[in-house]
Symmetry: C2
Subunit: 126 residues, 2 copies
Amino acid sequence: MRHQGKRHGQRRKAAPKRRITGFLQPIFLLQLYSQDRHGYDLLQGLEEFISDAETYDPSIIYRIMREMESNGWVNSYEGTVSRGPRRRMYSLTLEGKEQLSRWMIDLQKTKDEIDNLLTVFRQQTT
Amino acid sequence: MRHQGKRHGQRRKAAPKRRITGFLQPIFLLQLYSQDRHGYDLLQGLEEFISDAETYDPSIIYRIMREMESNGWVNSYEGTVSRGPRRRMYSLTLEGKEQLSRWMIDLQKTKDEIDNLLTVFRQQTT
DNA sequence: TCATCTATTGACAACAGGTCTATAGATAAA
DNA sequence: TTTATCTATAGACCTGTTGTCAATAGATGA
């Protein structure tokens, strides 16, 4: 099968610089909170959380999900037959929910640190 | 010269997980905004911005400053003679100030992204 | 048949930073 | 005098996360 034109005709916009280490993981887990989803769908959902989401290469989702599955935070299974290629569905485990909560606490701290830095910056530069 | 007891007697607490990529750089630049400082001093100043700052290994500051100097964001020079070992002083360049401002804009965006994620999380889990 | 879109897998490469070794000057303690 | 401690710097090796690219697949449209 021929490979897709993506690599020959259209050049993908350079991926955004990493900002927060491990930011995609909680985003994906949160998307699974209300319902199971397949990989590509999770990737589509990124745009609600990250600017320039369309610059992410799809392969990243599958690696991340594989790692999270090995950690017991998600389970995966073959999706029901749909039009087009096979789908791999992901569901959130109880451990995954707990881990998500831990990440949220962590992110709140991170946010506070940024806030502090911004505050000091504004004080010093005015 | 004998190496310091740090590695034999006291075990350094494991460094905190990285949260924000490139978070130390703006912190160091901001500390140089009001006055030149030497490396170790910049490291001490970290505690105002980062919890667990004391877990950072001092060597990190010098690598980061070296990189920033090669980018033209800081200049360094031999410090005046002081008690104890030699000191390397760092000063902020005009380019450094501009870069710092860019980082602040970036960090504001990052903070907003976290905020959004936290908001969605709270909505979905209550 | 080829192009495009949806969809997944995996290996190699790159990057940021963590860890550990080494060194040095001054002072205090043994 | 020697050793311990604190302040201070430099560098190499290692690790963890993620970016990039290649490959593949089913369905539909051109």
